[in-house]
């Protein structure tokens, strides 16, 4: 039987299966808890249980002392739940997280548009308004599929009754195949959300006067677009915003005209489209190359004074992190939309970095 785990100070609720450890459940939900040995010997993952019953499992008597057990400490790498439980972990509080509750929604597909040969824009009119933070995602139910599919919301959080999703066709993918080939305007859909901890750290930008840097590639434009729209709508903020948007060729660029228009209207917003596979002599006058190359050239290899938000396929994220760090922007100022899957959790990875 599964139980609910509330992780403080985030307030995030995670479902923990029978026999599943607290650490495993947290990591799968995208919540990083500090950890190292993963089998109860080092004590790096120690947390406080404030409510509920847990089973300590294999925790070593030296890594988790008797007095600590009496005080309600446990090691999440070994501990399993006996009831719904609340833990307090050493996670930095995120002053900008709204910690919105996840809800189920129903709605009607109001329109579908071909944004590029491989990306469709899907607009869903919701039966009840949704509140989300720019950058978050929803889980869409796919008929006949057990697991829902996650899609970032591409529209501004100001639009509470209709959300926009930009969905690329994954070759052989059942969920995106259904969206591209079967879903029609007027059909009813079910979804839940908002999910995810990918959002703009506005208070840190304000406190340290840091610019906003968005790096998007592949179909990763949705979250950055929502974040940019949200930032441009706010008054009284004049810190610069830069979006580097990567695509293979001109016909794979979408929302291009809108972003150019926004850049013309807002002097603080710079839009840098970069094409990696555009044919020579096509008349393209913008940047050529991958996102990280375009970013490096645009900032002359110096990213200091920013916080960067990265969204896209794993190779792109990886190349961008390396480029940012070599341009002196480090982990504390880099945010990625990262889902740690079960396979990632088992991979041999060094603990040098926590969240990137």
């Amino acid at each position: 039987m599964s139980h609910q785990l509330t992780i403080e100070p985030l307030g995030q609720i995670v479902e923990v299966g029978e026999g599943q450890t607290i650490l495993d459940a947290a990591l799968r939900a995208g919540i990083y808890l500090p950890h190292a040995c993963c089998h109860g010997l080092c004590g790096s993952c120690k947390v406080q249980v404030t409510e509920g019953e847990i089973e300590h499992g294999e925790a070593s008597g030296f890594a988790l002392m008797d007095f600590e057990r009496d005080e309600g400490k446990c090691l999440p790498c070994c501990a399993t739940l006996e009831s719904d439980t609340v833990i307090e972990a050493e996670i930095d509080e995120e002053p900008d997280a709204l910690n919105l509750p996840v809800q189920d929604f129903t709605g009607v597909v109001s329109r579908i548009e071909n944004l590029t040969p491989t990306v469709k824009g899907v607009w869903i009119e919701l039966d009840a308004p949704v509140t989300f933070q720019a950058g978050q995602y929803i889980n869409l139910q796919i008929p006949g599929e057990h697991q829902p599919r996650a899609f970032s919301i591409a529209s501004s959080p100001a639009r509470v009754s209709e959300i926009e999703l930009n969905i690329r066709l994954v070759p052989g993918g059942k969920g995106t195949g259904w969206v591209h080939k079967e879903l029609k305007a007027g059909e009813r859909v079910r979804l839940s959300g908002p999910y995810g901890r990918f959002f703009v750290r506005a208070s840190a930008h304000d406190a340290e006067q840091l610019g906003y840097l968005f790096l998007a590639g592949g179909s990763g434009l949705s979250s950055p677009r929502s974040m940019v729209l949200d930032l441009l709508a706010a008054s009284g903020d004049d810190k610069p915003i830069t979006l580097v948007n990567g695509a293979r060729s001109q016909d794979e660029l979408y929302h291009h005209a809108e972003l150019q228009r926004l850049a013309a209207e807002h002097p603080r917003f710079t839009y840098v489209p970069a094409l990696s596979g555009e044919p020579e002599g096509s008349g393209w006058r913008g940047a050529r190359g991958f996102v990280h190359e375009a970013a490096k050239a645009h900032f002359n290899n110096d990213f200091r004074g920013h916080k960067a938000y990265l969204c896209g396929p794993p190779q792109m994220i990886d190349a961008c992190i390396t480029t940012l760090m070599q341009g002196r922007l480090f982990e504390r100022d880099i945010y990625t939309e990262k889902f740690i899957s079960a396979a990632d959790a088992q991979q041999v990875r060094s603990p040098l970095f926590k969240k990137i």
Partner: protein, 515 residues
């Protein structure tokens, strides 16, 4: 009564109040006079507040934790002692691994304590200062618990009694000793990269896991308990090492080449010290845990590889000697045990040739090298020993100027040829076992010409008791060196087969298990 309940402080706030908040900026002395060692190494730190505390433990809770660890550890040690636990080990050959640990490792735990106390004092940042203070206390606790738990063996077995005296004198002990002396005589940044990062993070698993699992596999609850008790501190040490290297690299791009040179140096120095662990794993444990080669593949190639893949983002490259170390995994333990077997009268523990069964295991674990290069050596030694001619080398070996290990290592690509490297400095020639050791010398020759090399010192007449005259007829240099080492010839040293330890262990075990 006016009672106002205030909100309980969060972990982070509590930590801040009890650490950084207790620091202050001096006003009647300049900061650089209070912390005079922070600039000369060339490391540039612009903002100490950017140091992110890797763990949030305050001194008050530190004492509480360590006190309970001590209570548990000593309860286990007492139980082990009262039950004559020493008679439960696989056989008394195992106890020689403990002698190696006590003479070679425990004194450097104490040096680690001194080193962290020293650099903690030298850092202007309150975060690293508190972390170093705790690690300094951890290290002295490790030294003490090791001495206490191994003192029980000293009641029954030979070779434990003069560990402190020997650490400063005996030839092979100058290997770990010179390693640590080199580190503590570096600056505060070099020391923390050397010990906090290169040793505690990259290499510590290769030291602790083999000894502690070795203890568990061979029935030694006492040593296993101090191992677990120490391991629970290691997580703090490892996270400190990682945070420090990130912090230094993020502070200024000019720090990168300095840090890279230290990583190259300290990886190689630490790796050379681990030669002693390699031979312990493959030859000294009656019941083995895994081979040195397997341990190297898991802890260095796999875990270390993942670390250096991440560090590459900062521009850090895999340490210079990495590739050679990976090539040597097939040879290291065999070369080392051959040396200790040959010099078996000059170390305060026993050596022995591997049995036919031992060799089957070695052959299976080292299919490419053991039968081809090393088996014939042991077969020869065994035959000589059976005919009453146990081989002991009576000449002194040539030592490497840096690692101080005899020049026993073979060329990385030719296991039949001993590697020799040399450098000239002020018209004197210096000798090295490897490219790694040579390049360490070439960067700082002025430091390493001062090395106290045990063999040179014997030749210079500095390793005899003061009551003897080397000029007198009949002077026996070996006997006098052993006397100066406080090694009782025929008791503490030489072959296990001929030792009182073996005889006593067998007698006591027979008494314990029958009438």
């Amino acid at each position: 009564m006016d009672m106002k309940a205030s909100k309980k402080l969060g972990l982070k706030e509590r930590y801040t109040l009890m650490t950084r908040d207790l620091a202050w900026t001096p006003t009647y002395q300049a900061v650089k006079d209070v912390f005079p060692l922070t600039e000369y190494e060339g490391i540039k730190i612009h903002d100490w507040d950017k140091f992110e505390d890797p763990f949030r433990m305050t001194m008050d809770s530190y004492w509480k934790y360590q006190a309970e660890k001590e209570r548990k550890l000593y309860a286990i040690i007492d139980a082990f002692t009262q039950n004559n636990g020493h008679l439960g080990v696989t056989d008394a050959r195992y106890i020689n691994a403990l002698k190696l640990f006590l003479t070679g490792i425990t004194p450097v735990e104490y040096m680690a304590h001194r080193g962290f106390a020293h650099i903690g004092r030298q850092y202007p940042g309150a975060g690293p200062r508190v972390a170093c203070l705790m690690q300094s206390l951890d290290e002295i606790r490790h030294a003490q618990t090791q001495i206490h738990s191994l003192s029980n063996y000293n009641k029954y077995y030979n070779g434990f009694q003069n560990w402190r005296h020997q650490h400063d004198r005996v030839w092979y002990l100058s290997v770990p000793k010179s390693f640590f002396d080199d580190a503590v005589s570096g600056g505060p940044f070099e020391y923390i990269i050397a010990i906090g990062f290169a040793f505690e993070y990259v290499l510590t698993n290769l030291l602790f896991v083999p000894f502690i699992s070795g203890a568990a596999y061979n029935g030694d609850m006492g040593a296993m308990a101090f191992g677990f008790s120490a391991q629970s501190d290691e997580s703090r040490h490892m996270t400190l090492g990682l945070e420090v290297i990130k912090f230094i690299l993020e502070q200024d791009p000019a720090n990168l080449p300095i840090v890279q040179a230290w990583i190259d140096k300290w990886f190689w120095r630490g790796y050379r010290v681990l030669t002693l662990v390699a031979m312990m794993m493959d030859y000294m444990l009656p019941k083995r845990v895994m081979s040195w080669k397997e341990a190297w593949e898991i802890y260095a190639e796999q875990n270390g590889g993942a670390l250096f893949a991440d560090l590459a983002r900062y521009g850090i490259k895999v340490p210079k000697g990495w590739e050679q170390a990976c090539k040597e995994k097939d040879h290291l333990s065999h070369l080392a045990w051959n040396t200790f077997y040959s010099y078996g009268m000059a170390a305060p523990f026993h050596t022995w040739a591997p049995s036919e069964k031992d060799m089957e295991w070695l052959s299976a674990k080292y299919p490419d090298t053991f039968d081809k290069y090393y088996r014939s050596l042991w077969t020869h030694y065994a035959r000589e020993q059976a005919e009453g001619r146990r081989y002991y080398s009576t000449t002194l070996p040539m030592l490497c100027q840096i690692c101080q290990i005899p020049m026993i290592f073979t060329e990385p690509d030719d296991p039949t040829k001993i590697a020799y490297r040399e450098s000239d400095y002020k018209n004197i020639k210096y000798h090295f076992c490897s490219d790694g050791c040579k390049s360490i010398f070439d960067l700082e020759p002025g430091k390493y010409v001062q090395s106290w090399l045990p063999v040179h010192q014997i030749h210079q007449g500095n390793c005899f008791p003061s009551d003897v005259d080397p000029g007198k007829p009949g002077f026996n240099p070996l006997a006098e060196v052993l006397r100066w080492y406080r090694i009782s010839d025929g008791i503490d040293n030489r072959d296990y087969a001929d030792s009182p330890d073996k005889q006593n262990f067998e007698t006591w075990r027979t008494q314990a298990t029958g009438n």
